[in-house]
Amino acid sequence: MGKLEFDIAHLFSGGLVLMSLLLLYQDRMFSLLRFFAGHAVVLSLAVAWQAFIQDKPELYITAVIALVFKGIVIPVVLYRIVVRLGIHRELETVVGVGLTMLAGMGLIGLALVVILPLTAAADPFAREDLAFALSVVLLGLLMMITRRNAVSQVIGFMSIENGLVLAATGAKGMPLVVEISVAFSILIAFIVIGVFLFRIRERFDTVDISALHGARGEQP
């Protein structure tokens, strides 16, 4: 792999981490959806670049799935749901923005510290790709923890899936079976979530998860 190709691949994976950080502090529903679409677009660029330099045309399919499905279809559908349910107000977070960002930076540091020394023998691109992917996964987890709102938890979950796709494409020659299955599982997951959102709306008139913390048969 030449120097320039390596650098461009780096740029895209690094860009995905940056998008994850940006997702962390969005406090409005619509901007959150827009940034998630951006997240998916950066992912599709990273995957397409991998398809090009690894000379694996089937990876383009993964890139297209990321672009069309996660970059366009899901944000649009979620947008409609948000409008229909009338929940485009400010998002409540559990922890303040400053603290969340600090924790996010800590997690990126952690990912680098864990992956880079451990994998010194592995293919240099694969290892740095893994480090970036782990950062994206950890940031997604952080987002799911710090958000109370069902839609933002769903977006946190999908950004984790994006990180996993990044890791899978960085691993040289990983069979397509897995990529398609990942895409497929996102589809299933999305259906599940859609069903849940409607049910939650139907029952409680809110998509705020904290409203769900009710009786659980454990009160004395």
């Binding site: 451990l118 996993l164 691993a171 020659g173 897995v178 769900l212 048969g217 009160q219």
Partner: protein, 482 residues
């Protein structure tokens, strides 16, 4: 006949898949409930056939001594649970908790769940295994939320979120395993096949394997219900339909454990890696002690037995973590006994909760007087699960404790303390439920007693006498596990 034998592993998958499609289309609960029973019975036959004819490992499917144990247990408990489910849902329809369209969905999902679990057990590909476990998880999420009450939705959402996080961590671990295997085995599907991974494991980069195992243990450990990622388990058990609680506790936890064991076998092939044992021992003990104390504060009867499942998965993980022929043997047998006993308990609890109209322990009193068969069945189940002789769990716990004592007395003491604390908690609660002043409805239960007593009879028999071939088979698997 010989054709059927040769394709038994494909049939174990094809029967649930085909019946799922069929059940999704057919209306009428009597027919579909019977069809569900028939499908699980056929799957059981196909699983039994695997004992006699073992297809050679293919690119996607693999049958070996280890997964045959799991597949057979899966098919058996799947079958008995479908019998229990047929009488359980009849009552749910009468009370209006489930409507016919939901029932159709329920039966189709039941078969999809069976398909997912069997696929993950038989998969000869780490990616396929992961996909199958995700499929089984998503199916159970839908089933847990099926009553659509406040609590059921909260439980399903919590299960979905924690389950997805676990599944995401496991996929990351799977990718790292591929990265480790790819330089040795070469790119493509070959580097994801279990048979190749085990064959070439000695030459993989140990650092990558270590990293992968941590993610896999945490990820699949979430699905096993190990602390600290167990929080989904009690809610999912308490709020879903009881047949699903029985299948969750009895089978799905085992399926996730099977994945962990496979990766432990991979770790064992490489001399340079960290020993996976201590990590599993620690997680197992923490889960055991934690669940033992949590048992005291339970007020919901299904939730209580869910905590008991965490306790037993802790013991089993501990046993496999200790390793060695004896501990592995006991762990495997304990897992089998726990599946049979815990599903029998849930069969009893399901009917009890229906007839009393509540799951609160304080409102269920004097069962042995009001419903003698259910009451004594539950008593027998709790005696078995608490580990009293002469039932099967006593024997396996005895082997685990004594083999640990020989190697590390300190760990054995912690283990015994945990088991005793849980034991006391279970009997404290059982006393009122079974022998207290009778309370609530005394109208006779329309229950199916056969599955419950069949399971308990097996557990009792195993405690008294284990047939020679079974012992030889389990000893062989224990050796495989290292």
């Amino acid at each position: 006949m010989s054709w059927l034998l040769a394709h038994a592993s494909a049939l174990v998958l094809a029967i649930p898949a085909a019946s799922a499609a069929l059940l999704a289309l057919l209306p009428g609960y009597r027919v579909t409930a019977r069809l569900n029973v028939a499908a699980t019975f056929l799957t059981l036959l196909a699983a039994i056939a695997l004992l006699f004819a073992r297809p050679a490992p293919g690119q996607f499917l693999l049958v070996d001594d280890l997964n045959v144990v799991f597949v057979l247990l899966n098919a058996f408990v799947g079958f008995t649970t479908s019998v229990f489910s047929a009488s359980y849902i009849g009552h749910e329809l009468e009370t209006g908790r489930l409507t016919p369209p939901y029932l159709r969905f329920y039966h189709a999902m039941y078969q999809v769940l069976m398909f997912g679990m069997n696929l993950s057990l038989l998969a000869n590909n780490v990616g396929l295994m992961w996909v199958a476990i995700e499929l089984a998880t998503l199916t159970t999420v839908m089933m847990v939320g099926i009553y659509r009450t406040h609590e059921a939705l909260e439980a399903a959402w919590k299960y979905f979120i924690l389950g997805s996080v676990g599944i995401a961590l496991a996929l990351f671990g799977t990718i790292i395993v591929y990265v480790a295997a790819q330089p040795v085995v070469g790119p493509g599907l070959d580097a994801m096949a279990w048979t190749n991974l085990i064959m070439h494991g000695a030459r993989f980069d140990p650092a990558l394997l270590n990293l992968a195992f941590v993610f896999l243990l945490l990820g699949y450990g979430t699905k096993v219900g190990l602390a600290p990622l167990h929080a989904w388990l009690p809610d999912a058990h308490a709020e879903g339909p009881t047949p699903i609680s029985a299948v969750l506790s009895g089978l799905l936890l085992n399926v996730a454990l099977h994945a962990v064991l496979r990766y432990k076998m991979l770790m064992a092939t490489n001399a340079g890696v960290l020993a996976p044992g201590p990590m599993m021992v620690t997680m197992g003990l923490v889960s055991l002690i934690f669940a033992a104390f949590m048992l005291y504060k339970r007020r919901d009867i299904k939730r209580m037995f869910a905590y008991s499942s965490i306790e037993h998965m802790g013991i089993i993980t501990f046993a496999f973590g200790m390793g060695g022929a004896l501990a592995n043997f006991a762990g495997l047998l304990h897992m089998t006994m726990h599946s049979l006993t815990k599903s029998a308990i849930f069969f009893a609890v399901g009917h009890v909760a229906q007839v009393k109209g509540t799951q609160r322990i304080s409102e269920i009193r004097g069962l042995t007087v009001t419903h003698p068969l259910l009451g004594w069945g539950l008593v027998l189940g709790v005696i078995a699960i608490a580990g009293l002789p002469p039932l099967g769990i006593f024997m396996t716990e005895f082997i685990i404790v004594s083999s640990t004592f020989a190697r590390d007395p300190l760990l054995a003491i912690v283990l015994v303390v945990g088991i005793l604390i849980a034991f006391a908690a279970l009997f404290l609660r059982l006393n009122g439920v079974a022998f207290g002043e009778p309370l609530g409805s005394t109208e006779p239960a329309k229950a199916s007693y056969v599955p419950m007593f069949a399971h308990l009879a097996l557990v009792l028999t195993a405690g008294l006498y284990l047939p020679g071939p079974l012992v030889a088979w389990f000893e062989n698997v224990a050796k495989l596990l290292g």
